[in-house]
Symmetry: C2
Subunit: 394 residues, 2 copies
């Protein structure tokens, strides 16, 4: 197949591109490289050193003999996107190319607006380009389990059958996203579903849990091929961040009671899920939703797991939750579509948790401790007009 | 109260501003005047001649003795919006200031992107400005019944209680919007609900049906005070458009079978509903949804009604539906919150239908017949890259 990976320079986009290339597919990657710019903006960095995209692609050619074609540009630049899809002629487009940090979207008004415009317009442009060039191209879109929030009923995969006053329909699952970033993904889902309906496009929305891990069979082939690993308070996600906190002797920062329960997934399973989606495409006109995680854990469970297996001493510290979310709640999310297609999950085990801490210890000299603590609070706002941030009451 | 009407130069915004001013409230209107620009772009016009905003406000002062303060500017210009709200100090902001035509949003990629960015960013800016300046300001936001689509179960007011696998929760009502415009309103609703939750804002989302009529007690006081009346294929809505088609001897254009059923509301009831919402504000942190219509009719019912009461001969023509929608469907939408607050509806009667046709006959010399027929098809796309529009299969 011909696979175009949007956001192919990022944490998951790059290993996904390698995985498809290793599997014998023709792979292109599209990226505006803005993820590297966010590091400069935030004063953060990847725990693991990463190479420039051109170097990555060149090393991959040397190591594997396979060619990955890079396209440097922005999805919000429609002529660029249109020409890229026209010339590459993909069978599937895998769309990772969005601003993906909830805290980043909550920094202030400008970051909220940037996140929603960047994500929504990039996806709108993609829908138009595919509708005009070739509606048969399968759009595999990365969504998030965070679109659902934490309802008091089971979370289904995108749709729910509702019986109400004696009548029944299958409707889109109600969404209660928890940040302007998560909201942008909900907006995307609605837009894509509509495009499938009116233009007969085909799409799979992968509502992904929190990804942990950094190594895949392909990234392990050469140091130039490693993917980024974020540990900071803005882009670092829970288990990865705990591993780094453990490595540098920083308390594991649990938000509030730590009863927040989330779907989790190993980075290798992310690649397998995306591959399964591409190899088993949605039908013409179908908007299909897969929940993409393999296990659920509460935040405090993960902190205690890291503490138990870490080779260095660990403390756990509860800090006030910077987010507005339930610190304890019912959580039962369904994820059967991907296992039905053949997913064999890598479940979290002591050795995986320990290996994350060991990875962090190996690179601990690169860690900026000042970047670890959360700096973005959901309850405050900042704009370029008021001189300083204002706190608004809950 | 102090009422700031965003979009106060438009079809409904202007009569709303007059209504509040007549009621003794302090009224400001904010508008970037882009609705007048759309006329230039589309080659269409208002059936009824309308005055410039400055003239409207001056005449209103002469006629009523009341002052309406105009603020000319764009919600997407945050410093302008912030300063307007800071200086005016409203108790309620009534938000009509969005691109509100479904066909306009479906013209091509650029219009889809414009509609979603304009509407979503304007509303995001409003949320931030109010969170920073005074979270007690009540946001009365115009949504649309079109957010819900046409589910096979009853449409509730914003929320639905779902019992699923033995557990129950009240969740946002699932949305199935039918255009990029309707989608922008769904995006807004999610963003506003989130802002109420995290910042304790208070908002009422008015999911309005299709509005008909053009005269209100205040606009009738002087010809300078009249509000616009759209009849063209892009901005004209169903009953108003039929009245003009009847007046000029053009067949009433029914899309497909005409079984599309919609909630409808008299323009005077729109004003009453907005007033009821402002006088009975949402609680701190509450995101409240009212369905704002008084009756439901199918398109063919309305066409036949116009035919029956028109003083001039009328024919009805079924044309292929340019939209992707069900031409026949179940439709039962609940709207009890506004009647519970005291709404006394003006139900559609023969004399109202006839008066619409008479209004159109009075101004028939202003009608551009070429603007009447629908020119935007949901199934085709156009972009600035491809030379001509492409048709994609259903």
């Amino acid at each position: 197949m011909r696979i175009l990976v949007l956001g192919g320079d990022g944490y998951l986009g790059w290993p996904t591109a390698l995985h498809f290339s290793q599997g014998g597919h023709d792979v292109g990657v599209v990226d505006n490289l803005v993820r590297r710019h966010y590091d400069e903006e935030m004063g953060s960095n990847s725990l693991v050193p990463i190479r420039q995209l051109h170097r990555r692609v060149a090393t991959w050619k040397e190591v594997s003999g396979h060619t990955i074609t890079p396209f440097i540009g922005d999805l919000d630049d429609y002529p660029f996107l249109y020409e890229t899809i026209r010339s590459f002629e993909p069978d599937s487009v895998v769309h990772f190319a969005e601003q993906r940090s909830a805290p980043y979207s909550m920094i202030d008004r400008a970051h909220a607006v940037y996140t929603q415009v960047n994500n929504v317009v990039g996806t709108l442009n993609l829908l138009y380009a595919i509708a005009e060039l070739n509606p048969a191209i399968h759009i595999v879109k990365l969504g998030t389990m965070g679109e659902y929030g934490t309802p008091n009923i089971d979370i289904e995969e995108g749709y729910i059958e509702i019986t109400h006053k004696g009548r029944t329909d299958v409707l889109p699952y109600p969404k209660q996203p928890g940040s302007f970033y998560h909201l942008s993904k909900v907006h995307d889902s609605h837009n894509i579903q509509f495009a499938c309906r009116i233009w007969g496009l085909r799409s799979t929305d992968l509502n992904q849990g929190v990804v942990y891990g950094q190594q895949t069979p392909e990234t392990n082939l050469h140091p130039d091929l490693e993917t980024r690993f974020d540990y900071d308070g803005v882009f670092g996600t829970v288990l990865n961040r705990f591993a780094v906190q453990a490595a540098v002797g920083y308390p594991l920062t649990v938000y509030g009671k730590g009863g927040q329960t989330r779907g989790m997934i190993d980075i290798r399973d992310t690649l397998a899920c995306v591959e399964l989606a591409c190899l088993n495409p949605a039908a013409k006109g179908e908007f299909r939703v897969f929940n993409q995680f393999t296990e659920t854990f509460s935040v405090i469970q993960m902190a205690e797991w890291v503490k138990r297996v870490s080779p260095v001493p660990v403390t756990i510290e509860s800090i006030p939750d910077p987010r507005v979310e339930k610190e304890e709640h019912y959580y039962n999310a369904i994820a059967t579509h991907l296992p039905d297609l053949g997913l064999q999950p890598h479940l979290l085990a002591d050795e995986h948790v320990a290996s994350l801490v060991e990875l962090a210890i190996k690179h601990k000299n690169r860690v900026n401790p000042e970047a670890i603590r959360p700096t973005v609070n959901w309850r405050t706002t900042k704009s370029e007009v008021s001189v300083s941030g204002g706190a608004v009451g809950e």
